[in-house]
């Protein structure tokens, strides 16, 4: 495992291919997620992450089921989420599900917590959206307790109290899964990540980089404020998206109909404007390489780079071709990032490293990375 991790994250959208009008079935997309994950390991990526949604047109409502199935068919790939809903899931079930996954895949997993942005999901799960930040904070504090204390006595605002509760299974090797906190506009989430020395992830997909820089810098400063290290030693993950072909004009021509009809930004800015204003890169592998390497200039040296490559109705075959092309530039991407990284910037978190650090510190939950 190199010092920085690279991977793909899937939103899990089921979108009609605008070039031929065909829509994959839920079964197609679920099996495609498995194929994409296995291919990710084949081309040398480190991480596969799935989103979590509870409404059409998305399939991943049961992330740990999907990730465990992938885990059984891979050997090195880290299974993660993008994101796990800390607001509407019961923290007890998160503790149980992800600890079980951690055991099954021998620690090859972590998770990214997020609030979710689909308003009706809150009432569907009996929660109040206006309390999203408070739910995030309370649920995460309980989740940590469930993973660190053998017997939990707890009382909060949003959930039935727990008396004499033991979350099973306990985390593998007594070390809780590493947690990333994903957010692009909420300072409280950056503060939560910083206070606990957890990772902070900015999706870095839909907006200009300036929108992300502010909260990443805030997280880095608060990470240092709470004594976990210098701002440069905070654990940062970034998203990104690309579409590439050997010839950049081929990439633009092929991707344009998917872009123009894509969920979120379709029918809005032109492909050209959107790619110049946001981190989207549509072009040659060399262009994707250069644009990605520049992320570290804006956000500082960071630990994890995740790409969105399977959305907007792109057929599985095309997505797998994108992975082949990514595989070709991946060794250079790793080498260039590693070459620029100062020695004091920590490696990306892995279970093995956290077990080792925990043994040294002899304080299982005070591990930073």
């Amino acid at each position: 495992m190199s010092t920085m991790q690279f991977g793909v994250m899937s939103v899990g959208d089921i979108t009609t291919d605008p070039t031929n009008g065909t829509t994959p079935t839920e079964n197609d997309r679920i099996k495609a997620a498995v194929a994409i994950a296995k291919k990710s390991e084949d081309i040398g990526l480190d991480v596969f992450a799935t989103g979590e949604h509870h409404n059409p047109p998305f399939h991943p409502s049961s992330p740990t089921t999907l990730l465990a199935y992938i885990g059984a068919q891979t050997e090195k790939l880290i299974l993660s989420t993008s994101t796990t809903l800390i607001t509407t899931n019961d923290p007890v079930k998160i503790a149980e599900d992800y600890a079980t996954l951690q055991h099954l895949v021998d620690g090859r997993m972590d998770l990214m917590l997020g609030r979710g942005n689909t308003a009706p999901v809150y009432p569907w799960f009996g929660k109040d959206m206006s309390k999203a930040i408070e739910l995030t904070i309370e649920n995460y504090q309980l989740l940590r307790m469930l993973w660190s204390e053998p017997v939990v006595n707890w009382e909060g605002q949003f959930r039935t109290p727990l008396q004499g509760f033991t979350s099973t299974p306990a985390p593998l090797d007594g070390v809780a899964p590493f947690v990333w906190h994903g957010s692009i506009r909420t300072p409280e989430v950056a503060e939560l990540a910083a206070f606990h020395g957890d990772g902070y992830f900015a999706n870095n997909i839909f907006w200009p980089k300036e929108h992300y820089i502010r909260l990443i810098n805030f997280y880095r400063q608060r990470f240092a404020h709470y004594g976990h290290g210098t701002p440069e030693q905070a654990i940062v993950g970034l998203g990104g998206q690309f579409f590439m072909r050997k010839n950049s004009q081929d990439a633009i021509n092929e991707f344009r109909p998917y872009f123009d009809n894509a969920p979120v930004y379709g029918h809005g800015p032109s492909l050209e404007d959107f790619s110049s204003q946001t981190p989207l890169t549509v072009g040659s592998p060399q262009q994707v390489l250069e644009r990605t390497l520049a992320f570290a200039d804006y956000f500082g040296d960071y630990q994890r780079q995740m790409f969105l490559i399977d959305h907007a109705g792109l057929p599985l075959k095309t997505v797998l071709e994108q992975l082949d092309l990514l595989g070709e530039i991946l060794p250079t991407m790793r080498a260039e990032f590693d070459a620029r990284r100062p020695a004091n910037v920590p490696d990306a978190p892995t279970h093995a490293a956290r077990v080792e650090a925990s043994a040294q510190a002899n304080e299982p939950m005070e591990v930073t990375a």
Binding site: I133, E134, I137, Q141, P187, E188, E191, L192, F195, F206, W207, P208, H211, F218, Y226, V264, Y265, G266, H267, G268, P269, D273, F274, Q277, T278
Partner: protein
Amino acid sequence: MTTKIVAISAGLGDPSTTRMLADRIAAASANAIDDNTSIEVVNLREFAHEITDAALAGFAAPGLQHVYDLVGAADALIVVAPTFKASYPGLFKSFIDALDNDALTGKIVLLAATGGTARHSLVIDYALRPLFAYLQAVVIPTGIFASGHDWGSSGETALQSRIERAAAELASLLGGNGSGRSADDEIDLFSPTMLSISQPQ
């Protein structure tokens, strides 16, 4: 110190009487204010595509973002909208929709409108004023409405005298402390929610 005035003209034509009115109000305001003034007049027509893109993509392209930055930094705003179907144009509302939520909090705003006939003159009070009340702007009492015949009127009620009265009100408000509120971009480290992270119950 320079007082920064930004005038937003929501006229869609070119040439535009809405733009003409915006220019006259801006000039009168500069006259009424003792300090040095800088005046920027923005024609929304030029940003029509970027405003639509912002509505769909959720962020402003660089040209439109520059306008939002000007608005944010302005000491006072002059807003002039034409009347379309008894209200301001949809493009103007889309421009406002993509503003940061608190961008106009406490901002001193002069409202003006143009319309085909005087029968539209309450558009300022029935359409524009409620919008700016929602945005928590400090709107000056005099609104300036100009229909076709106003451009040839004379005497006490003439367009120019109303422009000067509104400009004087604007200058007077600028000389005071406003509402004492303004957009706050700082992260509040000491809110109860923020503190509940590092000091759990």
